[in-house]
Amino acid sequence: MSKTEFLNHLGKRLQVLNQKERDDILEEYAQHIEIKIQAGLTEEEAIKDFGDADALGDDILDAYNVNPNYNKSKLNVEKTVLGALQTFGRAVNEICDELLSKKPKELFLMLFKFGVVILCLVMVRLALELLMSSLQNVLYFLPMVLERLIMGVLNLGFNVMYIIVVLFTLYAFLKRTFLIDDEIKDEDDDMEYTGKDNHFNAGDANVVDVDVYANVKEEVEEEQQVKNRLHFKMPKRESKMPRPSKERREGTNTAGELFANICSGFFKLCVFCLLLPLVCLFVCAVVGMGILVILLFQGYPVVGLTIGTIGLLMCGLSFIIFVMKSVFKTFGGFGE
């Protein structure tokens, strides 16, 4: 191994360190070798004294409190990330092509529609927040434990509902905007996932908002639960990412179909899991509605709340119908 070879090898090994540190330490080794050569040793011999370059690299990283295995695991991560990026890039390409083939007027219209959709989602969120805070003010006459329980359940339900709304609106919007043919189907799926991921960020941001709104600890815990749910789901979705590449490698048409089937099945399962608490919430809302009506007749000032609950019921009902319809409609054709 020559001096440059040795230094290059070591440099590669120390890639985690920042440029300045790396150059600094490599410079020391270079000088050390240089002095040894001046003292009459050959290049080979001078380097031999350092022993195995890999082991030395590990030692150096260790001195910096960096796990020497970091590099190796990073390579794997890099591969996965690169793969995902490639798929994402392809999806973006497809969409760009689609966009470029449209007229400016159409484009503008689409952008406008998208803006409206986003605005609607934000409005829904705001309305939810408002409803929650007003509910909390109204529920003060209940015992502490009961109040917290109700608020927690409602919070969870609202968040779940909101997530489904966002997912479906985005999905429906994307599907309608980019009419998919068989080829692009996979890419569109990926696009969908990125949409979801975006939403997750938005969701987290919303969580922070909620924290500002109400400082009740219980609520925060509930939020945490929702967050956890989100995070549980994230890896599942990501785990789907490598799958298309695996199946694509097989290169048969049936593989694509299989993937579509798996995807639709998984998605259905997800929706079902999310829908279940929502239905529970709906039932709770019906019961609550009954209680409210009784309270109203007894002269409690809960008119606003009653109207709000009616709105919630309507929303929930139409929402459930919407979800059911779109699931069966969307995935009925998907698997074929």
Partner: protein
């Protein structure tokens, strides 16, 4: 063998600090000085120098040399002196105790 390496690694820091106490040294000089006392892979001393510098026990400065490019000299800071004294005391204490224990166990036999 493996245990021996661990021994060496533990004392290496102290020896490096002690070496620089006498006078400022540049990397190669320091490494050859230290490896006279402790037989370790020369390459492993540099990361140690680096770490001690990052922890502000060493200061470095460049000085022209008659042959080749300027060399980086290591200088022990006040902080480093304090650290070295502590380490030395710790080592002496440790050494004394272990030595005494060895003598005791020799007497028992």
């Amino acid at each position: 063998m493996n245990l021996n390496v661990q021994f060496k690694k533990g004392v290496l820091e102290l020896v490096v600090l002690l070496s620089v106490t006498k006078k400022d040294m540049y990397g190669y000089e320091l490494v050859s000085e230290v490896s006279k006392i402790i037989d370790v892979n020369e390459g492993t001393i540099y990361p140690l120098l680096k770490r001690l510098t990052n922890e502000r026990y060493f200061e470095t400065y460049l000085k022209e040399s008659t042959e080749g490019p300027p060399r980086k000299y290591y200088h022990l800071t006040k902080n480093g002196q304090f650290y070295k004294d502590n380490l030395k005391k710790e080592w002496q204490d440790f050494h004394y105790k272990v030595d005494q224990f060895i003598r005791e166990s020799d007497n028992d036999e």
